[in-house]
């Protein structure tokens, strides 16, 4: 069993890598988006799943990355570097927000994150000279779907790998103690604020990079397209459904719900969002640990699932 998993993963990786050779433009876009959602859900998991601090405004890092990367591309920077910078911008923003807000207990942090969306949109609109305000930003036309597909795939893989590394380390254990019992964690010598900030910053890099990649792919961004609440909602549903706090849970959730989304969203936007809301409620009430979490408990699976 232990040997089968890496082999299976390897085969999957090869298949995914060869996919673009056969795929249509639409198929490529689907694959690219799936990777994006995996990266997003996995990143949300890093802060909310591991430390228990629910981030309701995580899309803020996606939007920040999108704008940062777009501005840099327009200034002449090659897009791969620009997107990485988007990730850096996300981490920096996480530090700025996290330093005051993470020193509060969970509910207060959640409140702060709720309002964040509003603020970012206001800031972006206000800094019109820089960001083009409500008119949006255009990037030079470029057909790089294939490259972006690979880039997104790399980010998704990287975030998952980082999650694995964290969960199997003492750093990860310490993050989990914050979730389990923050008071006891503090009393046991863990500087919870520092750890929360680290986790928060790490969780912002993925969204920052994929924000940049998405902007490059679309060729045009505007405030509502890169700070949509539905993106935060989707990240949360995916991670919750698959199993927050696990490694593969967000991946599972992303895959399942992405298929669901492709089927329903295009034609029934509100129904789709309603269902997402209902799924969140259902998961919290019926299987708070998500699918993988439930399996973990039932079959006593290791934490590396």
């Amino acid at each position: 069993m232990k040997r089968a998993l890496p082999v299976a993963l390897g085969l999957l990786a090869v298949a995914l890598a060869l996919y673009p050779l056969e795929a249509t433009g639409y198929g490529l876009r689907v694959g690219l988006q799936l990777f994006m959602w995996i990266a997003l859900a996995q990143s949300w998991n890093l802060i909310s799943g591991l430390t228990g601090y629910v981030s309701f405004g995580h899309v803020v890092f996606f939007g920040t990355g999108a704008y940062t990367a777009s501005l840099l591309v327009n200034a002449g920077m090659p897009w791969p570097l620009a997107c990485l910078s988007g990730g850096g911008a996300g981490a920096l923003l996480a530090l700025i927000i996290g330093w005051p807000c993470l020193r509060l207990k969970g509910p207060y942090f959640a409140i702060a994150m709720l309002g964040l969306n509003e603020v970012m949109r206001v800031i972006v609109s206000y800094a019109e000279g820089l960001t083009g305000g409500g008119n949006g930003l255009s990037l030079p036309t470029l057909d790089a779907s294939r490259s972006i597909y690979y880039a997104m795939g790399l980010v998704a893989a990287a975030v998952t790998a980082v999650t694995y590394a964290i969960v199997t380390s003492r750093f990860g254990l310490r993050l989990m103690t914050i979730r389990e019992d923050e008071v006891a964690a503090e009393a046991m010598g863990i500087d919870t604020l520092r750890y929360k900030i680290y986790a928060f910053m790490l969780s912002a890099i993925g969204p920052g990079i994929v924000g940049g990649l998405s902007a490059r792919d679309q060729g045009y961004i505007e405030p509502i397209s890169v700070f949509p609440l539905i993106m935060t909602i989707t990240m949360i549903v995916m991670a919750l459904f698959g199993g927050k706090g696990t490694i593969w849970g967000p991946v599972l959730g992303a895959v399942v719900l992405f298929i669901f989304q492709e089927a329903v969203w295009a034609r029934f936007v509100y129904l789709h969002q309603l269902l997402f809301g209902a799924i969140i409620v259902a998961v919290v009430l019926l299987m708070p640990r998500g699918i993988l979490g439930v399996l973990q408990q039932k079959y006593n699976l290791p934490r590396t699932i």
Partner: protein, 291 residues
């Protein structure tokens, strides 16, 4: 472009601030009750308010019912809805880690907003009932705002009389101070939870009905009130009910005052900046509260 700020302008702004603040206080009191009694942050509070606004709209649209009278309908209606939500959903997460109730009410808020989208469409609605202002000297009192404030004050005062004077109200305060002690004193905590969620929802609905005359009604209208109600609770101190009043008025004042100096767009961020400031400097609230 600089504008000379006259005392009359400041006075006007203070008045507008207090009028707006009374609504904030009303809605925040509802949220504060739920948080104080059950330690649940009701992210769906804004959507509940939105439902109150729609109730008023449809009653006005279909039956021509005076919007201010419709409060008598929207409050009991949302009370019942609140009780049902508590009974079937929220109750299960009251004792779970806070994360669970946050996520639950978050999911609930999404569901409610989108239900409204499906049922009512996202067309902007309005209730044309009262317009214009009373002019007294250099000050103008917007009529709908004045009426809303009057009703808000009445309802809020009534709530406080209820909390202070009646046995049920005292039971609610007891549970919010210590659930264990309240239980030992023979209080049926489950019933109190049901009542409180219902009451909190009713207060949100009242706020919604009152602003229905003044703002555009659409499914997402409540979201900003959710956040601002949280802010008010933080300002006044969690669990401090009179604090919610003062916090609401303060928020109204601050927003109106800053509008003298900032553009309308940037002013939207004022509430947020205020929250971060308070959380950093005095997280227990400007008055004394339990964190």
């Amino acid at each position: 472009m600089s504008v000379l700020i006259t005392p009359a302008m400041v006075g006007q702004v203070v008045i507008s601030g207090l009028l707006a603040g009374s609504i904030y206080a009303l809605v925040a009191l509802g949220l504060g009750l739920i948080f104080g009694v059950m330690r649940v942050l009701n992210v769906a509070h804004g959507p509940l308010m939105m439902l109150g606004a729609y109730t008023t709209f449809w009653l006005f649209q279909r039956f021509g019912l005076n919007p201010y009278l419709s409060v008598l309908v929207s409050m009991p209606l949302l009370f019942l809805i609140g009780v049902a939500l508590q009974r079937f959903l929220v109750r299960r997460v009251v004792d779970a880690p806070e994360l669970s109730s946050l996520l639950l009410t978050f999911g609930l808020s999404i569901a409610l907003v989108n239900l409204a989208q499906l049922a009512f469409t996202s067309d902007l609605r309005s209730v044309e009932y009262l317009t214009g202002s009373f002019v007294v000297g250099p000050f103008a009192f917007s009529k709908p705002r004045l009426a809303a404030c009057a009703f808000a004050v009445t309802i809020t005062a009534g709530s406080f009389l209820f909390l202070r004077g009646t046995r049920l109200g005292k039971a609610i305060r007891a549970v919010s101070q210590s659930r264990e002690v309240a239980q030992v004193c023979g209080i049926d905590v489950q019933r109190i939870h049901l009542l409180t969620f219902g009451l909190g929802s009713a207060l949100a609905a009242a706020g919604g009905s009152l602003v229905a005359v003044m703002v555009a009604i659409q499914p997402e209208m409540g979201q900003i009130y959710t956040f601002k109600s949280f802010l008010v609770i933080v300002l006044g101190g969690a669990g401090n009910y009179p604090g919610a009043l003062l916090g609401g008025l303060l928020l109204g004042l601050v927003e109106q005052l800053s509008s003298l100096f900032l553009t309308a767009q940037v002013n939207e961020a004022v509430a947020y900046v205020l929250l971060v400031l308070v959380l950093l400097i005095r997280p227990t609230g400007l008055l004394k509260g339990r964190v």
